[in-house]
Symmetry: C2
Amino acid sequence: MEKALKLYQETNQKLKAFYLVMFLHGWDSSTEAPHDAMEYRSKQLGVLSEMYYRISTDPAYEQAIETLYQNKDQLDSVLSHEVVERRKEIVKTKKIPVEEYVKYQELMTQAYQVYVDAKRSSNYELYKPYLLKVIDFKKKYLQWVKTSDMKGYNIFLDEFESGFSIAEYDLFFNTLKERLVPFAKAVSKLKSNYNKSFTKKSFSVDKQRIFANYLRDVFCFDPNRTVVKESEHPFTTNNGTSDVRITTHYHADNLQSAIFSAIHEMGHGLYELQVSKELDDTMSGSGASMAMHESQSRMMENMIGRSDVFWQRHYPKLLELFPKELKNTSVDDFIKYVNTVSRGFIRTEADELTYALHIMVRYEMEKMIFNKNIDLETLPTVWNKLYKKYLGVTVPNDQVGILQDVHWSQGSFGYFPTYALGSAYAAQIYHAMSKDIDINQSINDENLRKIADWLKEHIHKYGSSKPPKEILKLATGEDFNPNYYVDYLIEKYSKLYQL
Amino acid sequence: MEKALKLYQETNQKLKAFYLVMFLHGWDSSTEAPHDAMEYRSKQLGVLSEMYYRISTDPAYEQAIETLYQNKDQLDSVLSHEVVERRKEIVKTKKIPVEEYVKYQELMTQAYQVYVDAKRSSNYELYKPYLLKVIDFKKKYLQWVKTSDMKGYNIFLDEFESGFSIAEYDLFFNTLKERLVPFAKAVSKLKSNYNKSFTKKSFSVDKQRIFANYLRDVFCFDPNRTVVKESEHPFTTNNGTSDVRITTHYHADNLQSAIFSAIHEMGHGLYELQVSKELDDTMSGSGASMAMHESQSRMMENMIGRSDVFWQRHYPKLLELFPKELKNTSVDDFIKYVNTVSRGFIRTEADELTYALHIMVRYEMEKMIFNKNIDLETLPTVWNKLYKKYLGVTVPNDQVGILQDVHWSQGSFGYFPTYALGSAYAAQIYHAMSKDIDINQSINDENLRKIADWLKEHIHKYGSSKPPKEILKLATGEDFNPNYYVDYLIEKYSKLYQL
């Protein structure tokens, strides 16, 4: 037992050392590396990946985890949770035939390339055979790994959000169907009345950078532990709690894009900054789950960053930077601008009100694919029908339809639902926080320290040392309840659209 | 034999994979990482270093090298050179008692910290006991590793510039003593007459960046394979030939500092960019030696970058960026400014004419320490005497005297001489190049492509697949001859100072 623990911890230190490589490589390749750097580097990464693989699948390590699992009652709660999760993965991995796994890796590389071409040319037929092969593998996977406790699509859902199954997601999406779909349809028919002239102006990227830097202070993004830079697609990455980095992307013709990208990523970043340092030496020193992470970014971006009180407080700074461009724009105009609802086809461009409905389309389709054996020939037709049904829009072509997301080409099923779940977590957490602190007052402070502190104490500090379900319950005092989310949206948009 | 070769190459691929980590970490920590990032990262680096150490000292790997060494006649010239060099290191390392090595590593950490404090407070006495311990270890080291072919200070010289011993360096420095010391003394008494008013102006850092970017094109610093950024101390780093990065450092009150830092580092960088891609899979895909590398940076910085013809060509661009600041400054004023000779105490601030004399002081002292058993109590006195003798200056205190360089505190003896040797290589190579191409004409071209091509063909392409001595002979048709260097300096400065 003692020997097993020592081996387990030593191996983990090795695995964590490799995270440094992936962290540095990922950051560098997205923000800095010259165009031709990748070929040489890819060989090195290949060698390092192989080393990582050998260490992580060393039979002695797996045996140590098994030993710890058998004695998990003697472990502290952090370790015991880790061991249970890690063993679940190992047991699964062992059930996949190695030759099938290798073939699947090759398929994913091909599928990605074909997907990119197919999207560019809006040619679903090109992509279809690869998507079907990916789905075929994933269906076989479900057969290999199923247990008496879990089978079908639930297996994927659990992999992305431990403890969440169709039961929880159906409850969530059915609430959306009942309450949000009709409301969103009504709102999206209304026109948002505000002076839009400034949206046609050009906004100096240098000045946008100054504003992003200003926001860094507001969102408590400690300069001694963070980096803010630029990349094509905004993202967050970190190495422990003292090196957290985000990127944003500036567009001179779109003042809000960089602002909300930065706030969203700082929401993710603040989570990683505030994980308890005591978890540094464990495997639990990072955010708890996909949806829990998304709850933090979306709370910052939407619930705080697009709120009335936030812009009452910070619009003057924006005005100071863009006095000419915003001369005839009132703070109310600006608030309406950043909260405009529009019926679109593209998930990544969706507004706060309709975002989850885009996800609902994907959730329903994934459920049909894996649990209902839907005829795969009909996928684009089903996609378009569901968009009509939930969002009230007619998808004009597959490029802005079923081809818009890369996820399925990479076998990521069960991932999408966490995006929407994150927003719902956020509303439930926000509601709980509002019982402890005056949130509007805190947003009106010089920075969001009080909110950050509350989130640290109730969410962030745990890292992934507990399952997301348990953290949500600890933080809010109740199980997941999607009504907070719908209540919040209806209240906010009723006010904005004077319904 | 075949098995040995396979093991050798596979192990090298692993070792090279770790270079990616060091490359990314080094770049990131100097240019980007937030202040608090290092603590967490240092644990990961420790684990990775240990893995690297285990791989590089694996007895099977060492046995493979021994097998290849015994059969080196059957290897191609690149491999055979590698194996000889690698074996030399292994044989040496095995002679050092492990416990002494460990103690020495600890000593270096302490010595560095004490050195920093001692320099700050100009307190040599504080530093002395640590320096003496470092020297004591290095003397024992010489006893452990000496062979019938090589002993004493020559061992250190050979470690930094393979094939160069006191015989070559004495020839070099004696030439400097005879010909350069009296000339430099004469020049440094003269005043450089030019309109200096612009040197007091402030030069926008943003515009300096634009000029650095312009120089990037001039020096053929391919944007698809390079990065130019900023750091406190300028440096060059690379990962293969397709990812070469330099930094410079901008000062608003010093127009030339960033320019010549950038050119110097691009000289190093161009070398790495132009190593033959065929060497990518070997251990010979980087510059040949310390001095050969320095020859490339100093040729670009001094012989080309500070030349008359270079500024006749590129001053107009500088003028375009700083029309007000340089209004009354002629190109001749500017050329005199960047070639001003001044008698100073500090090596890193020395001008082109006197730089090698600073090195000569250190070379003579190192020779005395290891081959003449000089009384170590007298080191600062000797330092000051030699500065008086060779540079004609009276050192006012140890801070700008013996405490100015970090090298000795880290046991780097034999390193300094390569700095000066590089300049001498550069002059010899430049002379050989001038027989093949019209250098002034090439400097006057839009960019330095012709010069870069010549250097690639005669120096760069070999990487470290041959010893520097052999590359120098291949490139110039003769053995090392320091007179080219002195001839060049006397001609250039006679003209500048109208002697």
